[in-house]
């Protein structure tokens, strides 16, 4: 099971933090700091696996990380996951991000955190790997984004309709309409404000 997925930059600032097990807010921040501390000490040409820090489960849990330019992608997993498989999963994740934001960079992750969460939600669910086929993931994410966009168009409509009607300048309604022998009494409606 994947316990947590963290993305932070070379200075330890978190860019994405997703925990699949419950920790208190303070513990979460401590875990991020501790993980950054452990991972930043590593050389460039050592292996990508680390035994986890004390806070996130100690020796049973491993940190599997990949360093791309200014960002660290860290997956904290327990012993039931295949380490090399997770390493490949990180690669698939980054490639998907690259496809969704053209030539992704750190700024994209900063300003579109919610989108990154949505993409991640298509890949990992409840701590387990859901989908690894990049095209499939991208198709689903695109469809969901389209749904959001179409709603935004419709969602704007009621508000605009109301404001349009409020601004209408209705002339005074006649009290009585006399057409020949027919007399229609118009009820006294409250003004439509």
């Amino acid at each position: 099971m994947i316990k947590a997925i963290l993305i932070f930059n070379n200075h330890g600032k978190p860019r994405l933090s997703k925990f699949y097990e419950h920790y208190s807010e303070d513990t979460e921040q401590q875990i991020i700091r501790e993980t950054f501390h452990l991972v930043s000490k590593r050389d460039e040409n050592v292996c990508n696996f680390l035994e986890g820090g004390m806070l996130i489960g100690g020796s049973e849990n491993k940190l599997i990380y990949r360093h791309y330019a200014t960002l660290y992608f860290v997956f904290c997993v327990d012993s039931s996951e295949s380490e090399l498989g997770i390493l490949d999963l990180i690669q698939v994740f980054v490639e998907t991000l690259d496809k969704c934001f053209e030539n992704v960079c750190e700024l994209d992750l900063i300003f579109h955190v919610d989108k990154v969460h949505n993409i991640l939600a298509e890949m990992v669910m409840g701590g387990m790997v859901l989908e690894t086929n990049m095209n499939e993931i991208i198709t689903q994410v695109d469809a969901q984004n389209k749904m959001e966009k179409s709603e935004a168009g419709i969602a704007g409509a009621p508000a605009r309709a109301v404001s349009a009607v409020k601004n209408m300048n209705l002339p005074e309604m006649p009290r009585n309409i006399n057409i020949g022998d027919i007399s229609i009494k118009v009820p006294n409606l409250p003004s439509f404000k």
């Binding site: 930059n9 978190p14 994405l16 933090s17 699949y20 419950h22 807010e25 979460e28 921040q29 991020i32 050389d43 050592v46 292996c47 696996f49 680390l50 035994e51 791309y68 330019a69 960002l71 295949s82 380490e83 090399l84 498989g85 390493l87 490949d88 999963l89 690669q91 698939v92 490639e95 992704v104 960079c105 700024l107 300003f111 955190v113 919610d114 989108k115 969460h117 949505n118 939600a121 669910m125 409840g126 701590g127 790997v129 859901l130 989908e131 690894t132 086929n133 095209n135 499939e136 689903q140 469809a143 969901q144 749904m147 959001e148 966009k149 709603e151 935004a152 969602a155 704007g156 508000a159």
Partner: protein
């Protein structure tokens, strides 16, 4: 091995999208939800100090809170998105919880999306608010849009509590059977979460899981395999059931392995390695301890092992999983050999990741296939010298597992070398591993002592507390090496007194075997000219140094005292040292010094006997294992013994003389008082003196060995039983009972023995014997008979019965033998 490294670059200028102007324009143009979030992010990032950032965030949070309280406007989702960003940075965001609940209930998709995301980040099963979303989730699970359904599934799988899972499990089951593949795969993983929370619901999902195996969609298959794995791990019966699907799984695997290039699932030339790895893992669980299942897998595993290309990580992952499966099931021997060879190849791989993985897997199989792993010992030992800390750790674990009687010497050399250069976090583990290995396979005692001393000098600060008494016990058993040991330890002490454990052992040895040190001759090592002053100087340095812990100083003081009987010239110096410490601030040291002082002044005649060489400590005695408790009782007994010491001399001296007369001779080493025993004066450490107090093994109460009545008068009965008997001594217990109407008070027992026999009486359990046989008083007596004379004992019984003082004498000529 170069995987594609994506060039992520961080540059403000490169992306115009994020400049201030463009964000403002976007805000004006359309109402896309993320704009306000971006604005806030830009502002937060513009803060130059931590304080400024906090100020900005507090303002934003206040604004968000105000907006939450207002009625519905179109900006609720933006506000929650902003709040989640702030939460990620580490600021409190719990006031957003109710907003999440509200947003989830909204009919609009983008609000639901943010609401569910917020629920996953801010809510958990401990919060009450999480129960409120159960109903929303239930409704959304039957929503017409699959994306809404998937949101609900995702959230339930992430933070669903046990009650929520129980409520919604039937829904999930329905989705598992009848929906599209997108939903099915999500429902499968959601079911895994439910089973983890509420294991009993596993039975509910079993039929659906079984049916999912015939799906073609890889995502669904993957989810199904994960679900089946979880079910089998939790329930043995389910495991039995699913054994029947092994042929089906084998078919699926074959299809994956033998199929040609499939662009959808291809990762570096392997067709869906993630699914392959999952299936292999499930096969492992199903084939464990079961011959038929294992047989049906054999061919497949051989095929995968030979056909998979391991030049990329994906292939290695599959191979690694195959090897683990082969080793875990009942595979045929040819296959096992193949598997271990693959691991050996991995071990020589240049890629550090692969080496790490192969060592992890070797660790798992070292218990069962020890010889196969031994073949790779050389490579593993080389990995100890790798620069990578993770690889070092793996190599250490594996080396410790590979230690055996055959390779102990060479392997220990490597381990000791490693200890001197290993990273600090591995030191304690290495030291204890070395000790265990040395204890089990030491080829000789001298080698054993040398190894332990080496470890103490290199890493003495990181060893456990039991090392010191264990080492002391080891030294006492190696009787022919005392001279060598004490020379070595003296040299170590003179060089460096900072390592407490080493100093403690050295002090103890010098105290015990100081005479061997001073004679100057030793076969095993170069002799060194040591004078008495040198030795006392060394011990005094330890006593006065600021680096010495209180326990170490206790050791040094006792050692100094012991030397008073082993050296000839400088006894006055020792006397002065001991009297100085009689006013030491440390209470433990002060008590010892005062007692030693008393030994010099009043009990000088006993000093030699008290400070004699200690006998070999028996490691398996109860005193050894009940460390604290035995130590505790001894500390309690000390004051009673001392009070007895004070009480009895007050008695009229003529009584003592009477005993002298009876036994016909002056100058008898009479011990009517329980003397302070040398075990008490030994290095009683406050933490673990237990095993050195072994001589009190006689205190154990044995179940009814034969009792001999030695005295019966006036209703008072005195019985004797032998607890322990050796060639040179015995421990006996005297039991007094009272069958009269009234209690017997002031009971005292005194004993006298022939010359050359040493007597030690322990404190009695009390001095009042209750009436009517309702209770008894016991007293243990230890006899030490080194010259093996025939043992006789005279016991004088004094007590007050109904107001009258009675005194009697009993002679005991023969002692009963113990039952064992």
């Amino acid at each position: 091995m170069a995987e594609v490294m994506l060039p992520l670059w961080f540059s403000h200028e490169a992306k115009e999208l994020y400049s201030n102007q463009s964000i403002q324009e976007a805000a004006d143009q359309d109402m896309s939800p993320s704009v306000r979030l971006q604005e806030m992010i830009r502002v937060i990032r513009g803060a130059r100090t931590q304080g400024e950032e906090r100020g900005v965030i507090q303002r934003e949070c206040a604004a968000i809170r105000a907006q939450f309280r207002q009625a519905d406007n179109g900006t609720r989702s933006h506000n929650l998105a902003k709040l989640l960003y702030v939460h990620m940075l580490g600021y409190p965001a719990h006031f957003g919880q109710m907003e999440c609940v509200r947003l989830i209930a909204s009919p609009r998709y983008n609000e639901k999306r943010v609401g569910y995301l917020g629920a996953m980040m801010l809510l958990d099963e401990n919060q009450d608010a999480s129960l409120l979303i159960t109903n929303s989730i239930k409704n959304d699970l039957s929503h017409s849009s699959q994306y809404v359904q998937s949101l609900a599934l995702c959230t339930l799988a992430c933070m669903g509590s046990a009650e929520m899972c129980r409520d919604l499990a039937p829904e999930i089951d329905r989705l598992l059977r009848a929906s599209n593949s997108y939903i099915k795969k999500k429902a499968a993983l959601c079911a895994v979460h439910i089973v983890r929370k509420v294991p009993e619901l596993g039975e509910l999902f079993t039929p659906a899981a079984r049916a999912l195996l015939s799906e073609k969609n890889h995502g669904v298959l993957h989810g199904a395999v994960v679900l089946i794995t979880e079910l089998c791990e939790r329930n043995i019966d389910t495991l039995e059931q699913f054994r029947k699907v092994v042929p089906e799984l084998v078919q699926i695997m074959k299809g994956l392995v033998m199929s040609g290039y499939s662009p959808e699932h291809n990762v570096a030339g392997i067709s869906d390695p993630f699914l392959q790895v999952r299936i292999l893992r499930l096969l492992r669980i199903l084939g464990r301890n079961n011959d038929t299942a294992s047989d049906s897998m054999n061919d497949l595993l051989a095929q995968v092992a030979t056909n998979t290309d391991s030049s990329k990580t994906a292939g290695s992952a599959v191979l690694y999983e195959t090897v683990l499966t082969v080793m875990d099931i009942k595979s045929e021997s040819g296959l096992r050999v193949l598997a271990v060879n693959i691991l050996g190849r991995f071990l020589l791989n240049n890629d550090r990741n692969i080496r790490y993985i192969s060592m992890t897997s070797l660790q798992k199989i070292v218990q069962t296939d020890h010889n196969a792993v031994q073949r790779h010992r050389g490579t593993i030992v080389d990995c100890l010298k790798d620069q990578d800390a993770s690889v070092k750790r793996r190599a250490l674990e594996l080396s410790l597992a590979l230690v055996s009687a055959v390779n102990i010497r060479s392997l220990m050399k490597e381990l000791l070398l490693f200890l001197s250069s290993c990273p600090p976090e591995l030191r304690a583990h290495t030291a204890s591993g070395i000790f265990n290995a040395a204890e089990r396979y030491a080829p000789s005692q001298r080698w054993h002592i040398d190894t332990i001393l080496h470890v103490l000098t290199t890493a003495g600060g990181d060893v456990r507390d039991e090392t010191v008494p264990n080492l002391i016990q080891l030294i006492t058993t190696a009787t022919d090496l005392h001279c060598y040991t004490v020379h070595k330890l003296y040299r170590a002490l003179v060089t460096d007194i900072s390592v407490q454990s080493l100093v403690q052992v050295a002090c103890w040895c010098i105290g015990e075997y100081g005479d061997l040190l001073l004679t100057g001759e030793c076969e095993e090592t170069e002799p060194v000219q040591v004078t008495e002053d040198d030795v006392l100087d060394a011990l005094e340095t330890v006593l006065q140094s600021h680096m010495s812990s209180p326990a170490t100083r206790g050791f040094a003081l006792t050692a100094t005292m012991k030397l008073s009987t082993r050296i000839t010239h400088n006894v006055d110096r020792i006397r002065s040292i001991v009297s100085i410490y009689g006013s030491c601030i440390d209470v433990e040291l002060q008590q010892r010094a005062v007692e030693y002082n008393a030994l010099f002044k009043k009990y000088d005649h006993m000093r030699a006997a008290v400070l004699e060489r200690m006998p070999v400590i028996d490691k398996s005695s109860p005193g050894h294992t009940n460390g604290e408790s035995a130590g505790g009782t001894i500390k309690e007994m000390e004051p009673t013994k001392l009070t007895n010491e004070l009480v009895l001399p007050k008695e009229p001296a003529n009584q003592v003389c009477d005993l002298l007369d009876l036994l016909g001779g002056p100058g008898e080493p009479l011990h009517p008082t329980p003397a302070p025993s040398n075990t008490v004066k030994g290095p009683v450490m406050s933490t673990s003196g237990g095993d050195l107090l072994d001589l009190l093994g006689g205190l154990e109460v044995t179940p009814a060995p034969p009792c001999v009545k030695v005295y019966e008068k006036n209703g008072v009965t005195l019985k004797l039983q032998t607890d322990k008997q050796t060639d040179t001594g015995m421990n006996i217990t005297l039991t007094a009972t009272n069958s009269t109407e009234a209690d017997i008070t002031s009971l005292t027992l005194q004993a006298a023995v022939p010359k050359s026999v040493q007597l030690q009486m322990k404190a009695p359990s009390g001095d009042v014997i209750p009436a009517h046989g309702l209770g008894l008083v016991t007293q243990t007596v230890l006899l030490n008979n080194p010259n093996k004379v025939s043992l006789k004992m005279r016991v004088r019984v004094c007590y007050t019965s109904q107001g009258t003082l009675c005194q009697d004498m009993v002679q005991i000529d023969s002692f009963p033998s113990p039952t064992w």
